[in-house]
């Protein structure tokens, strides 16, 4: 497992973290995210190769959500992720792990996502997701986007697994 790059959000925040020019030398990708939103939203968005095509991303998820367990199917313009909002305890950030298999291959890309937004309160998420990006292109870019801003000290690290 090789660290390709870590990006940390600076003062003033940023709407997204984006990795570009991902080398095609690995078998799989692992992206680890630690983030906090500047708004009351508990959402994050993940995109591959900046693709926002309708129905490009398909997911099944299972989650603990604010004291309840539920499941959902999502077809969207992005993979939906778990964020931390301004309503959460100060200084708490998400932990998100996104695993992309055969990212340089020529089949649709299957993705495994594990996420948590712990809050020392009922309001919290623990989510596992299965995803597929309906695109056969090699993955050369990956982005994490907040509906508003990712606050300072949010970060993401990209690893290749060879």
């Amino acid at each position: 497992m090789t660290l390709i790059e870590t990006i940390t959000v600076g003062s003033g925040g940023a709407s997204s973290i984006e990795f570009t020019g991902i080398p095609g030398t690995g078998k799989d990708l692992l992206i680890l995210v630690s983030s906090r939103n500047s708004s009351t939203s508990v959402s994050l968005e993940y995109r591959l190769n900046s693709d926002s095509t309708s129905s490009a991303y398909v997911m099944k998820l299972l989650q603990y959500k604010n004291g309840l367990v539920d499941t959902d199917s999502i077809t969207s313009t992005k993979f939906s992720g778990v964020g931390v909002s301004t309503n959460y305890t100060a200084n708490t950030f998400t932990s998100n792990a996104i695993y992309v298999s055969n990212y340089a291959g020529s089949t649709n890309k299957s993705v495994s996502i594990d996420e948590v937004s712990e809050n020392n309160a009922t309001q919290a998420y623990l989510r596992i997701s299965a995803g597929v990006w309906n695109n056969t292109a090699a993955v050369t870019a990956f982005s994490v986007t907040s509906p508003n801003l990712l606050v300072e000290h949010s970060s993401a690290s990209l690893y290749t697994i060879s």
Partner: protein
Amino acid sequence: MATPTYDLLASTTLTSSASSVTFNSIDQSYGDLILVAATDSTGGLGIMTFNSDTGSNYHRVIMRGTGSSAQSSSETRNNIVVNSSDFSVSIFQIMDYSATDKHKAVLSRDNRADDQVVATASRWANTSGITSISIPASSGNFVAGSTFNLYGVAK
């Protein structure tokens, strides 16, 4: 602090359909194994066994989300299930696989975006070190392009 390692021990990419994939003579010097299987098969499932043990020695607890139903269950099987459809990805972490004084614990995540997301904790009720892993298709074949990558995580 020591640098953690994540070493590729073996890799198989099917160039034509095959009924089974096996890793033999697994290096016993690592702490854990990670198996990543991105597969498609005519039967929709693979079944994994250790050291050719096909007895009812695999116990598991499972939670599953289908999009409409959240489920949990437990059972005893004679294998470990590997989802295999539309190049779904399954990731298995096999803890302390080379130990000879404990049953083997396996944490896994099965991902089929068209069908279900699954998290499983399994136990192979055997104290032997794991020296081989066999993954036959439950029926039919794995299709060409299916990949099986086995990694060792250093102690």
